[in-house]
Symmetry: C2
Subunit: 149 residues, 2 copies
């Protein structure tokens, strides 16, 4: 019986029961800056919550994504990765090392980027009648360490 957590209210309308796996997964994601995969989350929780199932991790991640509390990414790796989303965390994008898989957050040029994105969205709406709801910018390359090899 998990405590009345501050996150609980954000689930109203999406879900009826507040459970330990949901709390544990959200807590873990909120406390790391990493971009974790479902299996990594599962492994990390096994210590504090033996008996948790990988299936539940996947289901919970889907749920959290739908409520907008986490973001899901498909970098060019096999598995999806997830990160906690919060209002005070700035809009950002990623550098992905194609050699070791390292992921770096960056939010430099957010203003200029947003300007270009907005302009593009408006233009694309007119030209293609396409309603832009989300965008994604990624840089692929080599991290400092991997450039040495």
């Amino acid at each position: 019986m998990p405590g009345q957590h501050r996150w609980r209210k954000r689930f109203a309308g999406h879900v009826c029961r507040w459970t330990m796996p949901r709390e544990a997964i959200l807590k873990l994601l909120s406390q790391t800056t990493k971009h974790l995969s479902a299996k990594e989350i599962y492994s990390a929780l096994l210590r504090s919550y033996p008996g948790i199932g990988l299936t539940t991790v996947y289901r919970t991640l889907d749920l959290l994504e739908k409520t907008g509390m986490i973001k899901k990414f498909n970098f060019r790796q096999g598995e999806s990765r997830y990160e906690f989303a919060s209002e005070n965390k700035p809009h950002h994008h990623h550098l992905i090392c194609t050699s070791c898989g390292k992921i770096i957050d960056y939010s430099d040029f957010a203003d200029e980027e947003l300007e270009l994105v907005d302009k593009s969205a408006k233009h694309l709406a007119e030209k293609y009648k396409f309603l832009v709801q989300d965008h994604n910018i990624e840089f692929y390359g080599l991290c400092q360490q991997c450039q040495k090899d």
Copy 2:
């Protein structure tokens, strides 16, 4: 015994033999503007080349990607999609409809985008010692048709 195709020379160093599957797959991709999946390519070729294997399609796509003759994309769908790459085809990005999966090429704002990307790459190289080699911009949303539903 496939003819001495104009593409053949581009494989020097990567591959020793020029085969029918390689020619057929490259030809198909060069003639469509669509972003095809491995299975779609396999299905399309079955007519003109019965007996072709899906395995070979995958292997050939990997090869073509390594030689830079095609590009591979992982939109948020289950399967990877591929498009022909050529010098005269302009650098472009994609609008992806999250409802029906439709993919639209666009190259508007290429100049401004490139300017921002270059500036970012330079900055990121300094700040994070990250060597940018490639970038990816995608817009997700609803196509004209799907906005009506």
